[in-house]
């Protein structure tokens, strides 16, 4: 359960806001447009506009801002890394600081800051999707979005089934990994006292039981699904049927308008 607390992946936070009530397909489409908008934002003005828009939508979900920040937190080192790489590799614009062969350029700092800000928006705003949509509805939305690809031989049912089973079992398997770690610690294998090389060895001895147990779980799950009459690609009826409403169209229109505004700026 401790793991579940940390794992924001696929966790919805119910507040009953208008964003929660939207069709998952509308939200997914909105997110795709949003990603395109982020890539198109090339000026400070565009980023400012993006910020105002994103914060307004986030606030309207009535989910506390700290959850969004929490979602971006695990990637802080990656962001720092990207910032430093950009800062050091771009050698354009005015020189701000130099010592020997080392120099910092204005353009490098600007691009570094840009990348980080974009990344923060990308993660926090897309977290909105999982926060406001239950995994089941999200999966159904995904199935809807992917259904045009059926003609290309892609099976949306299979993809969504795979995702939903993965989401269902990730916490279970993480919990199990923790139990095995504790079992190993109780036999004297204390991670903290080991050298890095021995830690790596421990990891292998953790992975083997976790993976073999995952296979056993998979076998059990297959038995259980087949016993309940499941057949791959068989016709199924749907209990939750998504309904597309005016709000959903408006939601997407909002993103399109934002996109156009940003391109013009």
């Amino acid at each position: 359960m401790v793991m579940n607390e940390k794992l924001l992946l696929g966790r919805s936070i119910e507040t009953g806001s208008w964003v929660h009530r939207l069709d998952a397909r509308a939200k997914l489409t909105g997110m795709i447009v949003y990603v395109a908008i982020i890539l198109l934002s090339r000026s400070w003005l565009a980023l400012a506009l993006l910020a105002v828009f994103s914060l307004t939508v986030m606030a309207s979900t009535r989910i506390p801002l700290k959850y969004f920040i929490k979602a971006a937190k695990p990637l802080r080192y990656l962001m720092l890394f990207i910032f430093i790489v950009q800062m050091l590799s771009v050698k354009e614009g005015a020189v701000w600081f130099s010592a020997g062969s080392f120099s910092l350029h204005e353009e490098g700092l600007r691009l570094g800051a840009f990348s980080v800000i974009r990344m923060v928006f990308l993660i926090t705003f897309t977290a909105l999707l999982t926060f406001t949509t239950t995994p089941g509805k999200l999966n159904q939305g995904l199935e809807g979005i992917l259904s045009p690809f059926r003609r290309l031989g892609l099976s949306p049912d299979r993809i969504t089934l795979m995702i939903s089973i993965a989401l269902r079992f990730i916490p279970t398997i993480l919990d199990e990994a923790q139990i095995i770690m504790k079992a190993q610690a109780s036999r004297g294998a204390d991670l903290q006292e080991l050298s890095l090389k021995e830690k790596a060895k421990m990891l292998v001895s953790l992975l083997v039981p976790v993976i073999s147990s995952a296979f056993r779980r998979a076998q059990d799950l297959v038995y259980s699904m087949e016993a309940r009459g499941f057949r791959m690609d068989a016709r199924r009826s749907r209990y939750h049927r998504p309904k597309w409403g005016g709000a959903d169209t408006a939601f997407i229109a909002m993103f399109v308008v934002l996109g156009i505004a940003i391109v013009i700026l």
Partner: protein, 290 residues
């Protein structure tokens, strides 16, 4: 009521048999079969306990019935359908299975989704799904847990969800494959209560793999397996009276039985009690008469 006990015509009699196996065998290697020459007929509505030491093929046997494992030989007939490639999906509709590990049979992300998984597979219309969802959730007492994730439920609650999911599909045969072995004593008794209710309803043929004395005692009939063969087909009372058979199945007598036997050895005849309460009722007058 009497009609069910009267000898019936051959044609009607066949309909009454839910599960029929004729010389069924299974094995990956023909030299070392896991199951051989299993012949068994279970009439509709009967509650059969399947017992035997670990690794004797109990789980394998029940998995042959709905073709989760392919039989190597023999004939299986389930509710009038002969088991063949084409009838597998019909047969799976007749059989519901509850497995040992409550976690690994929880398919949906929530209780509601788990119950719906089977119903959607049956292609039921919305109204029917809606009504079954509520009827069976209420029946198993899990209607307040519908939006819960499996991580938030206890083992006993998860097993209830599994049973609700299976009963909602309205099968005629329900198989419990050591379904209580990972539960605590309280949840185990609750499960037994659910099974007793199912028997009272009379709609279900129950096959239950178990090592638990109370569960065996509650059944109508016991089939004992050892070494891949049926070694006994008796009533629970007969099983617990036969010490050789008990040892062969790695089973212990139920507690009241052991106590009564010990009392008998010391000269107090408490008879044979079905459960602890009955035993207490038989023992207390002894003290009173002194």
């Amino acid at each position: 009521m009497n009609e069910t006990y009267r000898p019936v015509h051959a044609a009607a009699g066949e309909e009454q048999i839910s599960v029929s196996l004729k010389e069924v065998s299974f094995g990956y290697d023909p030299e070392h079969p896991i199951l051989q020459d299993i012949t068994l007929a279970v009439p509709q509505g009967q509650w059969v306990s399947i017992v035997g030491p670990n690794g004797c093929g109990k789980s394998t046997l029940v998995k042959l019935l709905n073709a989760l494992l392919p039989k190597s030989g023999g004939e299986i007939v389930i509710c009038g359908h002969k088991l063949e490639e084409e009838t597998i999906s019909d047969i799976r509709q007749c059989i519901g299975m509850v497995f040992q590990n409550p976690d690994n049979q929880f398919i949906g992300a929530t209780v509601e989704e788990d119950i719906l998984f089977g119903l959607e597979g049956l292609c039921l219309p919305y109204a029917e799904m809606e009504s079954r969802l509520h009827v069976y959730a209420a029946k198993l007492g899990i209607d307040h847990l519908m939006s819960k994730h499996p991580g938030e439920l206890s083992g006993g609650q998860k097993q209830r969800v599994a049973i609700a999911s299976i009963l909602a599909m309205e099968p005629g045969i329900v198989i419990f494959d050591e379904a209580s072995s990972m539960l605590d004593e309280g949840s185990r008794n609750e499960l037994l209560g659910i099974l007793q209710e199912m028997r009272t309803e009379g709609k279900y043929t129950i096959l239950m793999i178990t090592h638990d004395a109370d569960e065996i005692l509650a059944a109508d009939r016991v089939v004992a397996l050892a070494g891949g063969q049926i070694i006994a087909d008796v009533t629970p009372e007969e099983l617990f009276r036969d010490e050789v058979l008990l040892a062969e199945c790695h089973l212990q007598m139920p507690y009241p039985w052991r106590l009564a036997r010990e009392l008998h050895r010391r000269g107090i005849d408490a008879g044979v009690a079905a459960d602890e309460k009955e035993l207490i009722d038989r023992i207390w007058p002894f003290n009173y008469n002194k």
